[in-house]
Amino acid sequence: MARYIIKRLVYAVLTLFVLITLVFFMMRMLPGDPFLGEKAISPTALANMNAKYGLDKPVFIQYLMYMGNCLTGDLGMSITYNRPVMEIVSESFLVSADLGTRALIFAVIAGILLGAIAAIKRGTVWDSLSMFIAMIGVSVPSFILGAVLQYFLGLQLRKVFGVNIFPIQGWGTFKHTLLPAFALGLGSLATVSRLMRTSMLDVLSSDYIKTARSKGLSQRQILWRHALRNAVMPVVTIMGPTVASVLTGTFVIESIFNIPGLGKYFVTSIKDLDYTMIGGTVVFYGALLIVCTLVVDLLYGLIDPRVKLED
């Protein structure tokens, strides 16, 4: 176990290293210039600006500086906002994390229930209905779903009832989180429920369920005590990718619902060619995902000791 953890940590560090290197050199290759604006800048001012942001040094030195700064949590100054990137990231990330967690909780709980119901009531209307919802979740990209929900549940419902049941813009109250979290979570819900259904069907046809039934346990006890617990295991393995897809989804969902999160800053910084902001966001986001996957994988080993972690 200790060996596995060390191995995974080494990988995570290596991946992070590659990520930062990649981001740094990509940023250098980008077309355009951050100081290129409507107004012409005098050569002296330009030289001063370059010196201020360290752009006058050799690329290799810049690279080492960048790497060192990243490791100490200094992601540079945003060129358009003129504030440290880390400051913007840490502010806006809280909003993204809030939204992401809600979506994730919704996706996992609803997905597990939906998948379990589909498996228990296999072949009935419930099964078809759950799998239909899952198929929608797989096939409709989250940002399209978000926009469609805004139109039908936000605008049309307000026209009918005259009250704003589902606000379609902004952030702050619980009501504001409903639509974005749903749009964000449905895709993952679909993956979870499909996997859950398969694994629940496996478990339900296994011998120990037969034993439990033959010794006279009630259906409820069988399902809650024996079936569900074992069937949930495979779902835990895909939690890493699920966290990743939810976090990726926040980028577009935030700009659709006008939520002041990390994703919204990211999308605008691409349009503004804000080098440091893009780089900083990507490094932060990549590091976050690497850590999340690592934690999930290690947790899986703790929850189910039968899993051979060396694989």
Binding site: V138, S139, F143, I144, A147, L155, L201, V252, I270, V282
Partner: protein, 317 residues
């Protein structure tokens, strides 16, 4: 009691020929899979849908009276089924089936032009993934040892970085366009395929026929290409079918954050993005591309599921 003729109990003797006769025509693995697939109604409907969408994308723009770039300033944001009233236009008097967009461009033509771009991107990336993944996975799996360890470690490291980040970075560096999307997506898209092929190859290379091929002096390249890869085909095909909706999604996602196909060209993703900007007033501008994206993804997903069931009936639920 009915009289039974004695002759009916006579011994007719053995015919070796009849006993060994094949009662039913023997089916190859592929034929068997195709037979199972053709019984799966959902999968067939999905195939029809995919063919239909592809045919429309290929031919509808050719027969449309409007060009996908043609703008009608007097007829912007027209509703569905409105008739073109621009006398200077070639399509005067024809109907805008899906209405027009903010610049008065015919959405029907644009949808199918966008379909071309989206489908070409999806299929090409899937094929590139297939080729690169098969070669990488095949080599890594067949040779094993240190080479395998190095190749897999490399893959592990690249895989740790979320692919959209790499794609976004590449898209920003390279010139925007269809090729860029294909290149950017292909740089990371082959990784799951390579892992899958490697896993299969590692299991297959223990088989006797590989040992036989080696004994007869077949080169590694020949063994991988002729003996190992064809046997992984069923798993690989399913994976390719399921990779296509992912590529369509990625293209739409990139278009949405402003890194897609440059105007005036369009894809389903960029049409959806334009639609989202004014869907409050003209919802169909979003709904039509949205339906196209979703239908295509749905069809490929369901078809992929059908293929998997056909190739491996044990997995069927």
């Amino acid at each position: 009691m009915e009289h039974i003729d004695k002759s009916r109990f006579a011994h007719v003797g053995e015919s070796a020929h009849d006993r060994e006769a094949i009662a039913r025509p023997s089916l190859t693995f592929t034929q068997d899979a195709m037979r199972r697939l053709s019984k799966n109604k959902v999968a067939i409907v999905c195939v029809v849908l995919i063919v239909l969408l592809s045919l429309m994308s290929a031919f509808a723009p050719m027969f449309s009276p409007f060009d996908y770039r043609e703008q009608h300033y007097g007829h912007t944001n027209a509703p569905m089924f409105s008739v073109c009233d621009d006398e200077s236009s070639e399509g005067y008097g024809h109907m805008h089936l899906f209405g027009t967009d903010t610049l008065g461009r015919d959405l029907y033509t644009r949808i199918w032009m966008g379909g071309r771009v989206s489908l070409i991107i999806a299929v090409t990336t899937a094929i590139v993934d297939l080729i690169v993944g098969c070669i990488y996975g095949g080599i890594s799996g067949y040779f094993g040892g240190t080479l395998d360890i190095i190749m897999m470690r490399l893959l592990e490291i690249i895989n740790g970085i979320p692919y959209l980040i790499i794609v976004i970075l590449l898209m920003m560096v390279l010139e925007p366009g269809m090729m860029t999307i294909i290149i950017a997506y292909s740089t990371v898209g082959w990784i799951p395929m390579a892992r899958l092929v490697r896993g299969q190859v590692v299991a297959l290379k223990q088989q006797e026929y590989i040992a036989a091929a080696e004994a007869m002096g077949a080169s590694p390249a020949r063994i991988i290409a002729k003996h190992l890869l064809p046997n992984t085909l069923s798993v690989v095909i399913v994976r390719v079918t399921l990779a296509i909706p992912n590529a369509i999604f990625s293209e739409a996602y990139l278009s949405y954050i402003g890194l897609g196909i440059p105007l005036p060209k369009c894809s389903w993703g960029s049409l959806a993005q334009l639609g989202i900007q004014n869907f409050r007033m003209y919802p169909w501008q979003l709904l039509i591309p949205a339906i196209c994206i979703s239908l295509t993804m749905l069809a490929f997903n369901m078809f992929g599921d059908g293929l998997r069931d056909a190739f491996d009936p044990k997995l069927r639920r």
